[in-house]
């Protein structure tokens, strides 16, 4: 009895895997980050850079304020370039800047901030880059302007004077 059932189970398993592979072929394997605006921010949990305390996205973006989430890393050279603009924006009272430390080494990141000063009100960690993927980020640096838990503007690449001007316009 046992011997007769084995062939059927094995055959069935292979048929199932055939179907999966067949379907998988049609799915594109090229990952295209989503590009939607006015979209709700994804929910995630992570740890704080300074204290290593667990925190989730609802706690980070809880206030009735504008937030700028900036994806950065100490190994990323354009991040150095845009840092002065972040420092400028950090003076705005209506805006809180959140840093997402992307695939970075904590020691190097601390060195980076000591050297260039810290514009962030909170820094959260993304050691393996998963949060950045959920946000639909293409790379570093990238910034998201957020209000009421939805993304108002997505900035790909480093900030510059024009963008700072535009952000200032949006948050007034």
């Amino acid at each position: 009895m046992k011997y007769k059932i084995v062939p059927f189970i094995v055959t069935f398993l292979f048929i199932v895997s055939f179907i999966f592979f067949f379907k998988g072929l049609k799915n594109s394997n090229i990952y295209i980050p989503s590009n939607d605006f006015e979209k709700e921010i994804p929910f995630f949990t992570t740890r704080l850079f300074n204290s290593n305390i667990k925190i989730n996205s609802d706690e980070i973006f809880k206030n009735n304020k504008y937030y700028l989430m900036n994806i950065w890393s100490s190994w990323c050279a354009p991040c150095r370039d845009e840092h002065q603009y972040l420092m400028e924006l950090s003076k705005e009272k209506n805006l809180e800047i959140i840093g997402l430390n992307y695939k970075d080494n904590t020691l190097n990141a601390k060195k980076f901030l000591n050297e260039l000063k810290n514009p962030y009100s909170n820094i959260i960690l993304d050691p393996d880059g998963l949060i950045a993927i959920e946000w639909g980020a293409y790379g570093v640096p990238e910034s998201f302007l957020i209000y009421d838990k939805s993304i108002i503007k997505k900035i790909i690449g480093p900030l510059n004077e024009n963008l700072v001007f535009e952000i200032n316009g949006l948050i007034k």
Partner: protein, 622 residues
């Protein structure tokens, strides 16, 4: 011109398959001796594929851009060596190489298997022809290497620079010898099952093919790994990348098969194991081909994302799977007359234990590779399974595995008892003592690492002792197992003692720490045949005051326009020093990665030792 000859030679060769099948079936009915025409036709088929392959090589050498494959993958400024290796550095050419090896191997099989029964030889040939026809159709229908383009382009698109590396030039042919060798095992096992021909003689005959494929597969994987270490510039040698996994899976199945064949040869038990493993080795190779060629996974090996190709291999793969399932379930009979009994303390038991562990490792890798694809289909979630998954699931189970590997060969066939084995215990204590000494001062997981190192040392010492005491008795096994213990030890020490420094430096700046001092001396620029080269000069001073000059390189290739980073690696018997330099955009800073990797060279050497073990067994006349 050479392309046209190549194309027609290929078409002619494919039609020969039908002739061979026709004569084989005729011969199969009244089979006393093998029809000489079958041998000649098999040779002719191989010869025609060879001409076709040479035709493609000549097109590559002459940079004949009227050929689409040459246009897509070559360039006039490329060095001759890489023009030739570019022939199989792409999807179409590599399939032609597959076919070349397939036809060569079946010809060799036919002339090397004279002692076997004619029916068995013909049936194996028939199964092999099914595979060969599948590849011919695939090649001619979806990926012909001889497509013509008009108007003829002036210049080709070039070969991906990271593929322009000597290790990678010979990696595919060697790996294919292994894969294709497993197809012979597959056909042979199917025909042996159908004819109820599984005997001790069959086992010692097919063992040669198993060993041959295993040697090539091992060397192929080793070359790929060496390439990744030297060329990709990440300082690792194994990344648990899906593409690496699909070459490791057939290897695990094949290694298990070698052990089972040895049992079968002696005692005619484990026949089901042998048949299932023979089938799965080749289907896993094909599955790997499917995964990397269909574009379902993304990697360097994904030559082109063409769903039609993927669909073809998928259907072909599952045809082979269902064919072999059918044959296995309907024809395979367990021979009950033979004494099946297995005692607890015997070689057989330890080999079965070995099998189950191997199957466990194989399933972990299979799940890690395939699960993301399945999950994507079910829930459109993208996940990536990385090293932590494999490390957590595999490393702890290495401990009993290593133990079985040490004790197993000590036991006798059928039944053995434990007498005069005090030295086994003694060696264990020595190993334990050494590993405690090593692990004690390190900030790592004490228990797991101590046990792991203990058992590796245990295998190391026991095999070393055997090497000197039992002279020449099963030398191949001793060398292979010794190689494995060395392999695990080198990987462990490499992982535990690697130090890494990552920093950004400008010319003239230095990185200073307690242990090391890295100074960026200068940067020189030269123009080479098909790339521009930037060589940085670094002086590295360690805490003992030894100076070393290292020169990592950045290459900016002209066609296609890609920047690659060539690591500078200084090797000696104790450690590798590894430095890479990367551009930090729009600044004069360079990102510098410096690593000290102990016992790196022993990883390669130990794999070579393992292969030597297999090679010794192959050359040994029994």
């Amino acid at each position: 011109m050479s392309s046209i000859i190549g194309f027609y030679s290929l078409v002619l060769s494919s039609s020969l398959s039908f002739l061979i099948i026709f004569f084989s079936i005729k011969n199969f009915r009244n089979s006393k001796t093998l029809d000489k025409r079958i041998i000649s036709l098999s040779f002719l088929q191989f010869f025609l594929v060879l001409i076709s392959f040479l035709g493609l090589i000549i097109s590559f050498i002459n940079s004949d851009f009227s050929n689409e494959t040459v246009f897509n993958h070559s360039h006039t400024t490329k060095p001759l060596f890489y023009k030739i290796s570019g022939t199989w550095g792409n999807h179409e050419g590599s399939l032609l190489l597959w076919l070349l090896v397939l036809t060569l191997f079946i010809f060799l099989f036919i002339i090397k298997s004279r002692q076997q029964s004619t029916q068995y030889r013909i049936l194996t040939l028939l199964f092999q022809q099914v595979i060969i026809i599948g590849f011919f159709v695939f090649l001619l229908k979806t990926s012909s290497p001889f497509n013509y383009i008009f108007p003829v382009p002036e210049e080709g698109l070039g070969l991906n620079p990271i593929l322009q590396d000597p290790a990678l030039a010979i990696h595919p042919p060697i790996l294919y010898l292994g894969y294709v060798g497993s197809s012979i095992i597959f056909s042979s096992a199917l025909s042996a099952v159908s004819l109820n021909y599984i005997t001790k003689e069959w086992a010692s005959h097919i063992k040669q093919w198993v060993l041959l494929s295993w040697i090539f597969l091992t060397l192929g994987i080793l070359l790929g790994s060496i390439w990744a270490y030297y060329e990709l510039g990440w300082g690792g040698f194994w990344f648990w990348d899906p593409v690496e996994n699909v070459s490791l899976m057939p290897w695990l199945a094949l290694t298990t098969l070698i052990h089972c064949i040895l049992v079968l040869e002696k005692r005619l038990i484990l026949t089901s194991w042998v048949v299932v493993l023979s089938i799965s080795t080749f289907t896993l190779s094909m599955c790997g081909t499917f995964l990397v060629r269909s574009g379902i996974l993304n990697s360097v090996h994904t030559f082109a994302n063409d769903p039609e190709r993927g669909l073809f291999i998928l259907i072909f793969l599952f045809t082979l799977i269902f064919l072999s399932l059918f044959i296995f379930f309907f024809f395979h009979k367990k021979n009950n007359k033979i004494d099946n009994s297995i005692f607890l303390f015997s070689k057989e038991t330890s080999i079965i234990i070995n099998n189950w562990f191997m199957m466990y490792f194989l399933s972990v890798i299979l799940i890690g590779t395939v699960y993301p694809i399945f999950l994507d289909v079910i829930s459109s979630q993208k996940i990536s399974v990385g090293p932590p998954f494999y490390n957590k699931l595999i490393i702890p189970f290495l401990i009993p595995f290593l133990f079985a590997m040490t004790i197993g060969p000590k036991l006798k066939w059928i039944k053995s008892d434990i007498k005069d084995k005090i030295y086994l215990f003694l060696f264990f204590l020595i190993s334990l003592f050494i590993s405690i000494l090593i692990v004690k001062n390190l900030k790592i997981n004490f228990l797991l690492n101590t046990i792991l190192i203990t058992f590796s040392f245990y295998l190391f010492f026991i095999t070393l002792r055997d090497f000197f005491i039992r002279k020449n008795k099963n030398l191949s096994q001793i060398i292979a197992h010794f190689g494995f213990s060395l392999f695990i030890l080198s990987i462990l020490f490499n992982n535990i003692f690697t130090t890494e420094i990552i920093t950004n430096l400008k010319v003239g700046e230095s990185f200073v720490s307690e242990k090391i001092n890295i100074k960026f001396e200068n940067l020189s620029q030269t123009q080479k045949q098909n790339y521009k080269s930037f060589i940085g000069k670094f002086t590295i001073e360690n805490d003992k005051g030894n100076l070393e000059i290292m020169e990592p390189e950045l290459r900016i290739y002209n066609q296609p326009n890609i920047t690659t980073s060539e690591a500078d690696i200084k090797t000696n018997l104790l450690s590798d020093r590894f430095i890479t330099m990367n551009i930090v955009q729009s600044q004069d800073y360079f990102n510098i990665r410096y690593q000290i990797k102990p016992f790196m060279i022993w990883i390669w050497l130990s794999v070579l030792l393992i292969t030597t073990g297999g090679f010794l067994r192959l050359t040994k006349k029994i």
